[in-house]
């Protein structure tokens, strides 16, 4: 018979419990009612801060569509539990419904603790626990203004980092004499303070918060500290610890622990045998845990009891933590403070490098008890599983970076590799061999290891290698080779078409991954116009129509404006073309002009006008050179030391049309003031008194990177030669859609290796790379002019093959600020027709 389980709280642990139960309850014994006070289904609270760093609420969501559609689970969002009535076995919800239960689980988590200092409830005070809290902070943040975080623990530092991401100047107030007092020791705290101080956090350690003061408008105006100082601010975030949400317990006659929390035994059971508590609200034998891993272990214990499975006792929890804040690694694991009898500390500190490591060992120095790593925590993944075990190598060797230290083979089979999800080495190696897994994603899906904090992922890779699984470079289901391997095959064999390549070296027909990748390689090697013959069908639509597709199916047209320099006459032509074809016109971020809203059939007419006026394609559509941005330089600027405009134009004309694994951007600045933002480009050039500095590997985008210096004080010819080599080396060896920064990072030896190959010619291929670039430059031809000259190619630029002049009825425009923009999309109802299979057969 089906019984009813009511779960109060849909946070990380409540969700895990239901997900786990549903995965194991093959007989559908339990129907589940979940009461969720928050308006969203469970999300990854551990990853909360990434919400301010580009992730969306959807990215963080833990509940997949299968979970939400499960008929055995009912999730009531925005509906809390108000009271538990144990006599009638019902829960009263905040919207007045009564839900009967056979079993009840409290998973209500914690609430942030706000110390009762005067002014703590003023407008402008925030906490840091939910997505709503973060929305509030985002709204209140003012870039450039100071913000104060009260509490210098793990969460306090996360909150400070969040303020930094919002452009604020964060202050951190911590009562203890060091940051992260719970996780790191004094030595580690000092290194940590130095590192985060360098990054612009103002620290106030060893001082209390006396009061929050209000301004004349009644909102927060400042924070008064115990040392007599005041920090002026309009935004305060409290991060002074959490308190378990146990408020449902007492009215229901359930015991609370002395220091708060719903009191449970090591089976997570309250004094009522039908009621359990899990996660942060549960006090197991009186002790609460503020981490997700112990919560997941509790969920597992309860699911086993609900389904009468073995092994239902809460294991000794792992309270290890690792954190990367402001680029600073901090990890603490096991008995970090060396509280065990006779424990020995082995400390390695390097103040110059800003790294600190302490290992806590048993009295005979053989068994690892715990440790603290600050500044560089790369050894964490290897060390943590050894806690409580004998070390396989001397302690200092264990601190060497992954790959050079002892390998995972030394790790005992039952060691826990993923402590968040309690997954052992043998669980993982068993899954790899048993399920024939070939990558980290497979291991994650199959074992859950690596799906929470992610710190064990390096170890998962090591274990894959240990099981004999070479990392897969396969491009897609049609090619087992990587892009760089295909490049070498095509270069060496002279294969000139996709069908020949897939016939000899792949399988199937290809797809939207391998076709454009191969098209790009063929183009890099100069094997014809990109729309020649079969190649046309390989191109992404942008390349196929030599323009960028927009949301309504029209295209944008971006002519090249080398270095951003343009004559008044050409500017007038652009204006006239835009006016005549009614194109939306906008200055891009790349120092040129974009004309939007062109229908397919208009493209050749537009190009005709542009080409006649001396324009050519700007390759805004291609994985190719985009722009070389320039500043004004010596010609006009009073600070310039080199002619940045002339150099930018020279570079842009030299590399235009070069097809690459991803787009390429460049910039040239006339002096160190860097007005062209060259260091945010794939290759950037900055003038010096003595010539040019060349920087490589920069980009904006999702993960911004500053380009790093490759070579300094080059003359014009030296500069060109190095850029030639650098770009060709990238074109040959990078992965599909890998920009230069990610490519450099992926190379063994990183930038040093690039320097060896490109500057020192360590592989002896420099001459070959230069020759390949000479071929590219000699073979360049404008792609637009190429289409205009070829009736076969032109014939594809029609709205409809059977009605070449009929405008596409799905396209419409409305006016905004005096220009067109796409009209509202009316999604047509899919027409339902009898299937046509027999006619097709």
């Amino acid at each position: 018979m089906t019984r009813t389980l009511v779960v109060i709280g849909h946070g990380m642990v409540g969700h895990r419990l239901v997900e786990d139960l549903r995965a194991r309850d093959d007989a559908d014994e339990w129907r589940v009612e979940i009461l969720a006070e928050e308006v969203r289904p469970a999300y990854d609270r551990v990853g909360l801060s990434s919400y301010l760093d580009g992730k969306t609420a959807a990215d963080l969501s833990l509940a997949g569509t299968a979970f939400l559609a499960d008929p055995m689970v009912r999730l009531r969002l925005g509906c809390g539990a108000a009271r538990i009535d144990r006599a009638t076995r019902t829960v009263l919800t905040t919207d007045g419904t009564e839900l009967g239960y056979d079993a009840l689980v409290l998973a209500t988590g914690s609430r942030p603790f706000v110390p009762p200092v005067p002014g703590h409830d003023l407008d402008g005070c925030h906490v840091y626990r939910t997505l709503d809290d973060l929305d509030g902070i985002r709204e209140a943040a003012v870039a450039g203004a100071p913000g104060v975080v009260i509490g210098g623990g793990l969460l306090g530092l996360e909150a400070a980092n969040a303020l930094r991401l919002l452009g604020m100047r964060p202050h951190v107030v911590e009562m203890a004499p060091r940051l992260m007092p719970l996780q790191v020791d004094d030595g580690g705290g000092r290194v940590l303070a130095g590192l985060v101080g360098d990054l612009g956090l103002a620290l106030h350690c060893g001082t209390a918060t006396d009061s929050i003061v209000a301004g004349p408008d009644g909102r927060v105006a400042g924070v008064e500290l115990g040392d007599g100082s005041t920090v002026e601010t309009e935004l305060v975030v409290f991060s002074a610890g959490v308190r378990p949400r146990d408020e449902l317990a007492e009215p229901a006659g359930l015991a609370r622990a002395e220091r708060g929390g719903v009191l449970v035994d090591d089976r997570c059971r309250t004094s009522d045998e039908r009621i359990w508590a899990v996660g942060e609200c549960a006090a197991v034998h009186g002790r609460c845990f503020g981490l997700v891993a112990p919560g997941y272990a509790m969920a597992d214990v309860v699911v086993r009891q609900l389904l009468d499975l073995d092994g239902a006792a809460f294991p000794e929890p792992d309270t290890s933590t690792k954190l990367k804040l402001l680029g600073v690694d901090v990890a603490s694991f096991g008995d970090a403070h060396g509280t065990a009898d006779g424990a020995l500390d082995v400390v390695y500190a390097n103040n110059a490098a800003g790294t600190y490591a302490k290992l806590v060992l048993s009295d005979d120095a053989r068994v690892l008890l715990g440790g603290v790593l600050v500044g560089d925590a790369s050894a964490y993944a290897t060390l943590r599983p050894f806690v409580g075990r004998e070390l396989p190598a001397p302690p200092e060797r264990m601190l060497l970076p992954a790959g050079t230290g002892p390998d995972a083979g030394a790790l005992p089979a039952d060691a826990i590799v993923c402590s968040c999800n309690n997954v052992s080495k043998e669980d993982i190696t068993g899954a790899i061999t048993g399920e024939a897994l070939s990558d980290v994603a497979g291991v994650k899906a199959c074992t859950k290891a690596g799906t929470s904090c992610g710190s064990c992922v390096p170890m998962l890779k090591t274990l894959l290698g240990e099981c004999g699984v070479a990392p897969s470079h396969a491009l897609c289901e049609h090619f087992g080779q990587s892009r760089s391997e295909l490049f070498e095959i095509i270069r060496a064999t002279g294969v000139a078409t996709f069908s020949e390549l897939i016939g000899k070296h792949g399988r199937g027909l290809g797809c939207d991954i391998c076709k454009p990748a191969v098209a790009s390689i063929l183009a890099s090697l100069g094997r014809g116009h990109i729309l020649d013959g079969e190649q046309a069908g390989l191109q992404d639509t942008n390349d196929r129509f030599l323009a960028n597709m927009q949301r309504n199916g029209t295209y944008s047209v971006v002519p090249r404006v080398p270095g951003g320099e343009i004559t008044p006459d050409k500017l007038i032509v652009l204006g006239e073309v835009a006016r005549d074809f009614e194109l939306y016109t906008k200055i891009t971020g790349g120092q040129r002009i974009d004309l939007f809203g062109a229908r397919v059939e208009q493209l050749p007419l537009i190009w005709r006008r542009l080409v006649d006026a001396g324009f050519e394609s700007g390759h805004a559509y291609g994985k190719a050179l985009r722009t070389v941005k320039s500043c004004v330089g010596t010609d006009w600027c009073r600070y310039g030391v080199q002619d940045s405009v002339a150099m930018a134009i020279r570079l842009e004309l030299r590399y235009r049309g070069l097809r690459a694994p991803h787009k390429l951007k460049s910039g040239v600045s006339g002096c160190a003031r860097e007005c062209a933002e060259a260091r945010s480009k794939d290759f950037g050039v900055i003038a010096t008194e003595r010539g040019w500095n060349l920087y490589v590997g920069g980009n904006g985008g999702f993960t911004p990177r500053h380009a790093e210096l490759l070579a300094a004080d080059l003359d014009d010819e030296q500069l060109i030669r190095l850029v030639d080599r650098f770009l060709m080396f990238y074109v040959r060896t990078a992965d599909r859609l890998q920009r230069t920064a990610a490519w450099i990072e992926s190379l063994d030896g990183g930038l040093e290796h690039v320097r060896d190959v490109v500057v020192e010619d360590s592989l002896g291929i420099a001459a070959e790379l230069e020759a390949a670039m000479r071929d590219h430059v000699a073979g360049y031809a404008d792609e637009w002019a190429g289409v205009l000259a070829d009736p076969a190619k032109l014939s594809r630029f029609v709205s409809f093959v059977n009605a070449p002049d009929a405008p596409d009825p799905t396209i419409s425009f409305v006016a905004e600020r005096g220009q067109p923009r796409p009209g509202p999309v009316v999604l047509p109802m899919p027409s339902i027709r009898p299937d046509s299979e027999e006619v097709l057969a």
Binding site: G508, A536, G537, D540, M549, G553, P828, S836
Partner: protein
């Protein structure tokens, strides 16, 4: 009774490339695969409402002939019109044939 509407000469179709065509009621994307099979599906991408399917890349997924929307890259079966990345979405399909040197689509 089915009426076959002539759309274009066979030679207007390149292998593994789509072309757009206009029926009275709606735009259609017409494909000739590498082995000269013909398929016709709706040209309007159900995820964004733009008439772009004919400009997608033709290929296969585990042997099933497919086209990927050029807009947000969802992959559809050319045979059934079903979206292989989201079974809730599908493209209408149309009977299509080669008749002498013309390609024809059946209209109800």
């Amino acid at each position: 009774m089915t009426t076959w509407l002539p759309i274009c000469p066979w030679t207007a179709l390149a292998p593994a490339c789509g072309v757009p065509a206009l029926l009275a009621a709606e735009p259609v994307a017409l494909f000739r695969t590498h082995d000269d099979e013909l398929y016709a599906v709706g040209n309007v991408d159900p995820f964004c409402g733009a008439g772009v399917m004919s400009r997608g890349i033709v290929g296969d997924r585990a042997g099933e002939p497919t086209v990927a929307s050029p807009m947000l890259k969802q992959v559809f079966s050319l045979r059934t019109g079903e979206c292989l990345d989201d079974p809730a979405a599908r493209l209408p399909t149309f009977p299509v044939r080669r008749h002498d040197e013309m390609v024809e689509i059946a209209v109800p």
